[in-house]
């Protein structure tokens, strides 16, 4: 579904969705959300873990 090529002749960027800038922006936002989500999850875990030690 995401292929950006129909032939290997004269190919340059050939990765999935290379011809769909909107999709690439959305994937970038998704990647950023994963990193932010990881840090947020760790912070929540710490808040809970440290609660009784304050």
């Amino acid at each position: 579904m995401g292929t950006s090529i129909t032939s290997w002749e004269n190919v340059s960027a050939y990765f999935t969705f290379a011809d769909n800038p909107l999709a690439l922006v959305l994937f970038s936002i998704g990647a950023a959300a994963i990193v932010a989500g990881l840090i947020s999850t760790i912070k929540k875990h710490e808040d809970k873990a440290f609660e009784e030690y304050k």
């Binding site: 340059s12 960027a13 050939y14 922006v25 990193v35 990881l38 912070k43 710490e46």
Partner: protein
């Protein structure tokens, strides 16, 4: 056998075909070189992992380790998302230039048959960034919250150091074009920046509980000193990938150049990397007689000559490294007396030594010409650049950690620090069998 008489056109076509094959193989060689440099750099992180876990007390060993592993995991994607763009957009200062090809949604930021350079250079730079994160990681063990550390490591590894890299390593970087900056092995752009960032964080984070009693520094021994020594040696191994990644493998007739486009070769790097390592070990050993510092001396020595790795006489590199190794131990003791608890000496080994290393290029190699119309290397240019590196590192480290401290997000609670972060947060024990009394040989025989 063909009896056709070759024509000028057929000979030209054969020559063109040979040339195309040659150029493709040359591009592949470039990729192969940086691929293995990047792979070898992963050993730096394996080394930091062992070294930091060993340097912690056993109650915090896994917290130190998980922090280090996660640093790699967050720096790689964030360096993809904005680190590479910062390098390409900010060589002129703080106003971004057009660098849309380095944005994460650009076609050049993915598999491309025609582009055999971007991915492999991005990878090497991402691992440089991860190294800065690991430099911070060791200093803050045993009391920083993992979430706070990850925020700080993303800022350092994917933004701060690469901004300094844009200024001091990019062909259009203003430190090069205005001051003739020379730092081929990243003493400034990686080590000094990361070391001073770490100092800023440590000032807000504070010392480990029990480190200072009535203002007097107390020793907090590593729970596994042998593991720290092995870890440090693994970092030294990884440095060969790091420093290999700092040299430019050019196609055509040019061959090797420094990142400043001046001629050099791996032989030059080999002489001074090894002489620097040896000198640093000796200097730290003489100053401390301590196994941890003796092995750290290898790092001190390499970092102390890395900025001028292509220029120094190996004998001079050895003397510089020995001297800097000796001074580094004294500098670490001074820092400790000032109330800074740097658990692994990162501020001194990376920050102080990297800072001085940049200046020393001006002292010993001042007057060396640059190319492409850039000014020659000078003591003035190197000194100003070293100060820039220190400020660029220190300010964000101090300010962001200050904000985290004010939000009560920087440090684990006192009681959790007493019990150990592994038990409270990580919910795992590094050595679970240590709670079980050992059986005597008579018991195991059923007596």
């Amino acid at each position: 056998m063909s009896t056709e008489t070759p024509t000028l056109e057929s000979l030209q076509a054969a020559l063109d075909a040979q040339q195309a094959v040659f150029e493709m193989h040359q591009s592949m060689n470039v990729e192969v070189f940086y691929w293995w440099c990047t792979a070898i750099m992963v050993m730096i992180h394996a080394g930091f992992l062992a070294y930091e876990m060993g340097a912690s007390r056993s109650k915090n060993a896994l917290a130190a380790g998980i922090k280090n592993v996660l640093a790699l995991a967050v720096i790689i994607p964030t360096f993809y998302l904005f680190g590479w763009w910062i390098y390409n957009a900010f060589p002129g200062g703080l106003i971004p230039a057009e660098a849309s090809a380095a944005l994460p949604w650009a076609q050049s930021m993915g598999p491309d048959v025609q582009d055999m350079g971007t991915g492999i250079f991005w990878a090497a730079f991402a691992l440089f960034g991860a190294t800065t994160g690991s430099i911070l990681s060791g200093a803050v063990i045993e009391r920083i919250r993992v979430s706070a550390f990850l925020i700080l490591t993303v800022v350092l590894g994917s933004a701060v150091w690469i901004l300094a890299g844009a200024w001091g390593w990019h062909p259009d970087g203003w430190l090069l074009t205005e001051l003739g900056y020379h730092d081929v092995g990243a003493s400034g752009v990686v080590h000094a920046v990361a070391g001073f960032f770490t100092l800023g964080v440590l000032m807000n984070l504070g010392a480990r509980k029990g480190k200072f009693i009535n203002g007097i520094a107390q020793a907090i021994p590593p729970h596994n000193l042998p593991m720290t020594l092995i870890g440090l040696m693994m970092i030294i191994f990884g440095f060969f990938g790091f420093l290999g990644g700092c040299i430019i493998f050019n196609g055509g007739e040019t061959g090797w150049t420094t990142i400043y486009n001046t001629p050099t070769n791996l032989s030059a790097f080999a002489f001074n990397t090894l002489m620097g390592f040896a000198g640093g070990v000796i200097g730290c050993y003489i100053a401390s007689r301590d196994p941890f510092w003796t092995m750290s001396g290898g790092l001190c020595g390499i970092i102390s000559v890395a900025a001028g790795l292509d220029l120094y006489d190996p004998g001079l590199a050895f003397i510089i490294a020995t001297t800097m190794g000796f001074i580094a131990v004294k500098a670490a003791q001074t820092l400790e007396k000032a109330g800074i608890d740097d658990a692994v000496g990162a501020v001194t080994v990376h920050g102080f030594v990297g800072f001085v290393a940049v200046i020393l290029v001006g002292v010993f190699a001042g007057g060396t010409p640059n190319v492409d119309g850039n000014p020659e290397i000078s003591l003035y240019g190197q000194t100003v650049s070293a100060l820039v590196m220190a400020v660029v590192g220190f300010l964000p480290g101090y300010l962001i950690s200050y904000a985290l401290k004010k939000a009560d997000m920087l440090r684990v609670p006192d009681k959790a620090e007493d019990i150990g972060i592994d038990e409270v947060e990580i919910l795992a024990k590094p050595y679970p069998e240590t709670d079980v009394p050992a059986k005597t040989s008579l018991e195991t025989q059923g007596a």
